[in-house]
Symmetry: C2
Subunit: 400 residues, 2 copies
């Protein structure tokens, strides 16, 4: 057994058994697997050689309920009948974003915040490859008790992201999550539901028709084997995967102390983009959003698709248009001044010589135009060259 | 004449005349007054000794329209009949906050952004002293085309600030400004309207009844002499005074590229508190607010009175309660743990010895309780002691 290789059937089975012995994300189990492999770790745990008392207690309680190897095999058979598969890190389609969890450290020492290590395996329903689905993906999550406002904004946002070829990832819940999935489905694009229960009986049952659609055109994904119940604490465990697998997370509506807020703390700690949609201060469903903006300087206000794309796109891929800039001043410029202005980079400074080269003008012309542009408030002089004034930064014409 | 002293009638008259010769905030005029006094500056400008060409042209155009000294005297007489007064820097009631404008430098070289120097004098109607009115003051400003949402939020906010003894300062306009003034009046508290026209005929006329109420119980204030028209550019000039005279500015609603946005850029540059009320992303009247939050990291989201007070109050005077923290965990603590937790400062770290002294417990007890508190996620260990975990920071019981 200890001769098995990562990704072979024994490794796969051991990972499934380990996830059954201890909840996903367990720090001690993950460290043992990293050190000695899944099979050896399973042998060790079943042999009772467990230094951590909490883990030891958990393993004893689970093994009295059944033989982990037998249960793992049963789960794999059940998945096969169901058309589901289990994906492990050695598989080509493993979504490597979740590996960032291997070094995540969160403030506060409680169990959920400590046990945030990567999944040992992922159960999947759906025809698309995981790695491709997550390559350009954004999480859109929020309150179950969403308001009409929240659902409307989610619709616009998720539809727009899907249209631009971004996978919309969410948690399958009522409210914001369901609105996000549905908008992506409506756009005819890919959406992934990351569940806190088995992929064979996605929760909540009220969203069953939607889950069937997602399984057909998108992906249902879970760390827990088929048949697993959506226990309350599993949603909190699951949230780290949503945060880690995507380029960024948008919270549309959230009450105070909500799961969405917890997801965003992971997003921030992982260095992913943390985005928040504001709402009326009179709405209880926006309290969590505003608290995030107040307490976490890393979170960014987003009000629409373009601003989300600006955050998650590769640099320069998308630049959200600043609402109505000083276009009136700009539009009155003579041709040479316009050329000079266009040649100034959106960020940073540039010298007059380089500017002349870029704009295809003489240096003296450039210097004269720069004086005019400075007077018009479009350009500022700095010690190392000139820069666009804040008010003059405008997106170039483009698709977004 | 050059023998006059700051604050005497000649100085007062000269300042009024200078404000008539060049719009308030003029950088060149202010520098001359700083260097040689108001009277000498007036002599010099009327003598034609003016280095700056723009100022020279302005002075020539104004002096052909009338004799500045005669016009200043007429304005002072008119003010007297009206029950208005002119306040100069030498007067005890001068609101010293506006003196911060003497060093304000803004990005972008346009005229309005350059000429942001302090007022030379202030015209006032109302029985209260300016300095006392502004000592604890917050500006609440925003869109004229306010929505019901904006008016509602402004009402709550301004009423709450007034109730807590803060002067509500605004610009007297329709929409958010008027809602802010009216809420303070309803609370029976002090409000100041900073106008861009003469205090004898406050603009807009539709708010006349409100202005009369403000003149009776609060203050109408302007840099322009009685009879002055509310010219469009004067609102932009005026905004710097609102920003400088108050401890902070709250923007409730603002369209893109609005005057309120311009006010907040001055607030930020002056180091005053810049606060923004978010709103529905679907509302055009919140676009300016969200842009401010996106582009200026110095701006803070505020959703109610308590959060504004937290910003502008002296340190520790007000602490806004974080919406529903981890009270459930806290409430389950044993007495010693609760004592230890209460003894940890809201910000910064503390060592176990000091903690023992503060809590009135033994060091060993403190160390044992700290371990429990750390496990509960309420306390974090740092290299130089322990600190409250973010989730455990909660306001002490208090009036706000």
């Amino acid at each position: 057994m200890s001769g098995s290789r990562p990704g072979d059937d024994a490794d796969r089975m051991a990972r499934v058994a380990l996830t059954w012995l201890a909840e996903p994300g367990n720090r001690a189990v993950w460290q043992l697997v990293q050190a000695g492999g899944a099979e050896a770790t399973l042998d060790r745990l079943l042999g009772g050689d467990i230094p951590e008392p909490t883990l030891r207690a958990a393993v004893i309680s689970r093994t009295t309920a059944g033989d982990p190897r037998r249960l793992a095999e049963a789960a794999l058979h059940r998945a096969e009948r169901l058309g589901a598969r289990v994906v492990v890190p050695a598989d080509p389609e493993w979504p490597t974003g979740v590996d960032s969890l291997s070094t995540l450290e969160l403030e506060g020492g409680d169990r959920i915040n400590r046990n945030v290590r990567p999944p040992l395996c992922l159960w999947v329903r759906g025809g698309r490859r995981l790695d491709e689905a997550f390559a350009r993906s954004v999480a859109v999550v929020g309150a179950r008790a969403a308001t009409n406002y929240g659902v409307h904004v989610t619709n616009e946002l998720a539809y727009g992201l899907a249209e631009h070829g971004w996978t919309v990832v969410s948690g399958g819940a009522f409210g914001i999550d369901a609105a996000a999935h549905r908008a992506a489905l409506t756009a005819g694009e890919l959406t992934v539901a990351v569940l806190a229960c088995g992929v064979d009986r996605p929760y909540p049952v009220g969203n069953s028709a939607m889950f069937e659609q997602i399984a057909e055109s998108g992906l249902l994904m879970s760390e827990w084997p088929p048949g697993s119940d959506p226990l309350r604490h599993r949603f909190l465990i699951r949230n780290r995967v949503i945060a880690a697998a995507t380029a960024g997370t948008v919270i549309v509506e959230a009450a105070a102390r909500s799961g969405a807020v917890q997801t965003l703390s992971r997003t921030v700690a992982l260095g992913r983009r943390a985005m928040v949609v504001p709402g009326p201060v009179t709405s209880a469903m926006s309290v969590g959003c505003h608290e995030l903006l107040r307490r976490h300087p890393e979170t960014v206000v987003v009000t629409g698709t373009a601003q989300v794309l600006e955050e998650v796109g590769t640099i320069g891929e998308y630049l959200a248009e600043i609402p109505r800039g000083r276009d009136h001043v700009r539009d009155d410029l003579d041709e040479d001044s316009a050329l000079v202005l266009e040649a100034i980079p959106r960020r940073g400074t540039v010298g007059p010589e380089e500017l002349a080269a870029r704009a295809g003008l003489g240096v003296r012309t450039v210097l004269r135009r720069l004086s005019l542009l400075e007077m018009a408030g479009l350009v500022v002089r700095r010690s190392d060259g000139v820069a666009l004034a804040r008010s003059a930064r405008r997106a170039p014409p483009g698709p977004v």
